[in-house]
Point group: C3
Chain length 399, copies 3
C-alpha cells in the first residue's frame, strides 16, 4: 500500500489554490490558473493511486453523468464513462437520434429537462468553427440559470470533451504523460516540443488537438514549435494565447513551415493531421446555408491540398533529427500509419510501433483527468474527501 | 436539515391506505384510490426532500430498471433513468433495433427473458389506439405469471410512461405542481382548469395528455373544462371517467367547443395540440392493414383539418380572460411556440416565456413521481424505509 | 433463510480445484477442467441462492463490464447486463455504429483504449467461421499484454457470449437446467440426449449451440446423439472433442441422419436449426471477397436445401418415441414454432407450449452462469468472498 505517497500528494494538493473550480465548468485550459491545472493533475494521480491500491473512489451514492457526443468517439466516450463510474455516477447518453432534441427544442429547455439529477455534463462538439464551445457555454448558462431558479437542485458542471477551440481532457492527459515521462513538471522547462501537421488521406480533422497543445504546453516553460505547411494555420486567437503563455511562463512559442526545423533537437514530437482553420470556417458557413454542392467542392479541394504535403510524414529519418535522435513521439490516437491503416499517412509504421506502449500510457491518463475535473467541480474540500477515501479504505473489488 | 418537515410528511404517509400498490403496476390514475394517489405525491415529495438534504435514497443495492420506448422521448427517458438511479437501479434499454424483439418473438417470451433481474419495467407506447395500454397489460400478465411459475425471482412491476389512454407520470407531475403552486391540495377545490386543444403545424400528437388531465384533475373538486374544436373529441371512455370523478369528488367536468369559454375565469390553462380520437383509431386500422397510401391520405386530411383551427392559440388576449388575467399556464413540453419553433403554433412567445420557470418546475417533479411509483410498488413498508433513510442519513454526495 | 444450504454449497466449492480460472478467460468449455466447470455451476447456484434470500452479491464498488455484440441479441445482452449489475459492474456497450472501431483501428489499440477501467469484456461474434473465437483471442492477448505493460491496471477477462465454435454461457445454462431437472449431476450418467437439427424457414443460424452441447454434455457420462440431415455437418474439430469427452467420461457420442433414431428412448431432446458448417465456411469466404452476388446465390441455395427437410420437426409423434414418451424438450430460444412464429418450423406448438415453463427456467440460469464466470475470474478466493457476502448479509432491496 502506497499510503505515504498518496498522503504526500494530498498534502501537495492542499497547498494549491483552486477554489474557483468548485461548481464551475472545465472548458478551456487557459481559463484555468496554474494552481487549478496542477490541482487537476494531482487529483488525477491520487485517483489513480487509490485505484491501484484497490481503494474505492466513490463520492457519489447516486447521480447521473450526461454525455452528449455530436461526433463519433470511442476513447473519449469510454474515458468519460470510466471517470463517472469511478466516482459513482451513472452515465446517461443524450443520443440525438433517440431523443427529440432535433425536433426544434431550444438548447435551454433540453439542457434543463435532462439535468434534474445530472451532476455533470460532458459534451463533444468539435465539427464546426465558432459553434462547439459556444454551444457548451449556452448549455452551461442554461443549467446555471436553472439552478438559480431552483428548477435544478444542483448545478451540473460541464466538462469539454472536445470542441472547436480546445480539447482539454486530451491536452491535460498529454501533459500528465510528459510530467511522468520526464520525472516531474520541473523537468519540462526548456524542453522543446514540436506540434506539427502531418499528412492524412482523410480530411477535416479537428483543430482542437494542436490548439489544445500550444495553449497548454506553453505554460510550463517549454519551447513550443508549431509547424505546418502554409495554409494550415490554426485559430489566430489560440496562437495569441500560446504567445502570451510563453512570454509569462519563461518558455517560447515559435511557428514554422518546416517539419525539419520543428523536429531539430526536439525532445518531444506530436505530428498529427488537421484541417486549415480558414477552410473549416468556410465549411461551417456552407453547412449553415445547407450548400451541399459547396461542401463537396470544398472537400475535394481540401483533399487535393492535403495531397501536396505527403512529405509531412513522421519518418525515422526525421526522428533522427531530434534530441539525441530519441524524442518522445506522441499521438492522441487513432493515427494514420503508413502501410497499416492507409498507404501514406502521418507516421512510419516503425516509429509508431516503437512508441506504442508510451502512447497507450498517454491515453490511459484521460479517465483520471476527467474524473479529477469532475471531482474538483463537485466537492468543496477535495483534499479532505480524498483523505477520507484513503483512510476509510473501502475496497474497489472485495478480496 | 429539514428533518422535521420530512418526518411530518412520513407521518402523513403512515395515515394513508395504499397497501394495494405493493407488487402492483401503475397503469391508469383512475385505477388508484385517493389514498394511493396521495401516497404517491407524499413519497415523491419526501424523496425530493431527502435529495435536497443530500441524503441517499438508495433502496436497491443491485437490480435493473428496464425501459421500453416505442416512441421517441427525451424527457420521459431521462426522468425514468433519474428515478431508477435515485433508488439504486441500473437502467437497461430494450432497444427494439438492437434486439430480436421484432423477429417474431411473442410478448410473453420476451417479457420473461429480459426480466430475470428486472425490478421495474417502464413502457412508453402511445402511438396506436387500443394497443399501448393493452400491450402493457400483456407484459404485466407475462411477468406476473413468470413470477408465479418461479421463472422470475421477483415480480417486476410496470410503470406506464405514456400509453394511448393515460400518461400518469405526466398528469401526476402536473398535479403535484398545482398542489405546490396553490399551497396544498385543499386549495384546489373550486379552481377552474381549462384543458384545451391548441393548433400545431404537426399532426398526430397523442391524446394521453388531455385524457390524463381530465381523468385526474376531476378528482380534487376542480372545475375541469375540456375545450376543442368539433371533431377533436378524446376517448369517450375517459370522458366518462372524468364525469364520474367530478360527480363523486364535488367538482365539475364540462365540455365546450369554445376556447374563450374555457379560458373565461380559469385559474389554470393547459392549451395543447392533440389528434382526434376517431382519426387515431382510423390510423391504427390503416397501420394494421399496412395501407401506406391510406395513412398518407389521412395525414394530409388531418393537417388540413388542423389548419382550419389556427385561431386556437394561447394568446395574451385569451390569457386576459382568465381569473384576474393571471391563470397559471401549463404545458408538458415541448410546445409549438409561435415565431420560435414554428410560424404559427400553440402559444404566443410572450405567454410561453412568462411561464418558463413554472413549466420547468412542472417538469422537475416527474423523476420523483416515477421514483415514488417504483418505491411504493417494491417496498412493503415505505414509511419505515423512508424513516430509515432519513435517520441513517447516508450522503448522496460525500462532503 | 437457506443459510445451511448455501453454506453447504460453499463447502462443496472449497473442495473443487479451479485456481486456473483466476485472471483467465472463459472461451470454450472444453478448455476448462471438470473442477472448473463444477465450480462455475456451484457459484451460479450460490449467487442465485443469495439473491433469492435478498442478500447482496456486490463484489465491485465500481468497474466496467464491456459488451461487444457483433450480432443482434436480446437475451444474451440482458443476461450479461444482469450478471454485471448483480456483481456491481456497470455495462458499457461498444456499439460499433457509435464508435470509431470501424474506421481502421487495430483490434489491439481499441481493446486497450476501452479497457482502462474494464474488469470484464463480453463478446458475441458468431457470424463467420474461423473469425469469432479468433477475434476473442486477439482481444484477450491485447489486454493481457496491456496489463503486463502496465497500460492497464487490471487484466480484463473475457467471457465468450457466443462465437463460431462454442456458446459456453448457453451450454452451461442448459447443463445446469439438466442438473436441477434430474436432481443432480450424478443422475445424468446414462441419460440419452438428442441434439438434433430441425427445419427453419430462415437460414444461417449459428452452429455454436449444437457444438456447445455436444462439446459439454459428453463430459458427464451422457449418451449424446447428434442428428441432422446429410450435409448439415458441424465443425469436425468439435465432433472430435465430443468423441474424446465421451471416451474419457464413460458416455457415448453417436451421429445419425435419422431424427427418429435420435429421439428413440431419449431422456432429453434439443431440436434446433443450424446452417451447414461447409456453407458457413463458404459464406465467410464470400464476405471476405465482398462477393454480394455470391452471398445471395448461397442464401437461395441454403433456403432450398433447408426446404427439403421440412420433416425435421419436433412433433408430438416424435416425442412419443422418447423415454416413457416424456423426454425433456429444450431450446435456447427463440424457436420457430409451427403455426405461431412461422407456418412450418422447428417444433409443433403443442410440444413447445407444454415445455414453456421448463424452457424459461433453462434461460433463467444464464445471468447466474455469466456472473459465476466473472466472479471466478476476478476473485482470488471465491469461497471466502461468498461466505463473507452470506454472513455480512447486506440486503439487495432494503426492507
Amino acid at each position: 500500500m502506497d499510503t505515504d505517497k498518496i498522503k504526500a500528494r494530498i498534502n501537495q494538493l492542499e497547498q494549491r489554490d483552486f477554489h474557483d473550480m468548485y461548481l464551475n465548468d472545465f472548458l478551456l485550459t487557459w481559463e484555468k490558473s496554474d494552481g487549478e491545472v496542477q490541482a487537476t493533475f494531482l487529483v488525477a494521480e491520487i485517483l489513480r493511486d487509490l485505484r491501484q491500491n484497490n481503494i474505492s473512489s466513490r463520492i457519489f451514492d447516486s447521480g447521473l453523468g450526461i454525455s452528449l457526443f455530436r461526433d463519433q468517439s470511442t476513447r473519449t466516450r469510454f474515458s468519460f464513462a470510466s471517470a463517472c463510474n469511478l466516482l459513482g455516477l451513472e452515465v446517461q447518453d443524450l443520443d440525438e437520434g433517440k431523443s427529440q432534441v432535433a425536433h426544434g427544442e431550444t438548447v435551454r429547455e433540453t439542457a434543463n429537462m435532462i439535468s434534474f439529477m445530472a451532476d455533470v455534463i460532458g459534451i463533444r462538439d468539435d465539427m464546426y468553427i465558432g459553434k462547439g464551445n459556444a454551444y457548451m457555454r449556452e448549455v452551461s448558462e442554461a443549467v446555471k440559470q436553472g439552478f438559480q431558479e431552483e428548477v435544478l437542485e444542483q448545478r451540473p458542471t460541464l466538462v469539454n470533451l472536445q470542441c472547436d477551440i480546445d480539447h482539454p481532457t486530451q491536452s491535460m492527459s498529454d501533459m500528465l504523460h510528459l510530467i511522468n515521462t520526464f520525472g516531474g513538471v520541473e523537468n519540462l522547462a526548456g524542453k522543446k516540443i514540436a506540434m506539427t501537421w502531418a499528412y492524412s488521406p482523410s480530411y477535416g480533422k479537428p483543430l482542437s488537438v494542436p490548439q489544445g497543445i500550444i495553449g497548454l504546453m506553453t505554460r510550463f516553460g517549454m519551447e513550443v514549435v508549431l509547424a505546418h505547411p502554409a495554409g494550415y494555420e490554426v485559430m489566430p486567437a489560440v496562437e495569441e494565447v500560446a504567445g502570451r503563455n510563453a512570454a509569462s511562463g519563461g518558455g517560447s512559442f515559435i511557428k514554422t513551415n518546416s517539419m525539419d526545423e520543428a523536429f531539430a533537437g526536439a525532445h518531444i514530437v506530436y505530428p498529427k493531421s488537421w484541417a486549415p482553420f480558414a477552410a473549416m470556417e468556410k465549411r461551417t458557413e456552407l453547412y449553415g446555408k445547407g450548400d451541399q454542392e459547396g461542401i463537396s467542392a470544398l472537400e475535394k479541394e481540401l483533399l487535393a491540398q492535403n495531397a501536396q504535403h505527403k512529405d509531412w510524414e513522421c519518418t525515422e529519418k526525421l526522428m533522427g533529427l531530434t534530441h539525441e535522435a530519441g524524442a518522445l513521439y506522441m499521438h492522441c490516437l487513432p493515427a494514420d500509419i503508413t502501410g497499416v491503416s492507409c498507404s501514406e499517412g502521418e507516421v512510419e509504421a516503425s516509429v509508431f510501433d516503437r512508441y506504442r506502449v508510451p502512447m497507450y500510457m498517454e491515453a490511459s491518463y484521460k479517465p483520471y483527468i476527467i474524473a479529477a475535473m469532475i471531482l474538483l467541480s463537485k466537492v468543496k474540500s477535495p483534499a479532505d474527501i480524498l483523505n477520507h477515501l484513503l483512510t476509510s479504505g473501502a475496497q474497489r473489488i472485495r478480496d
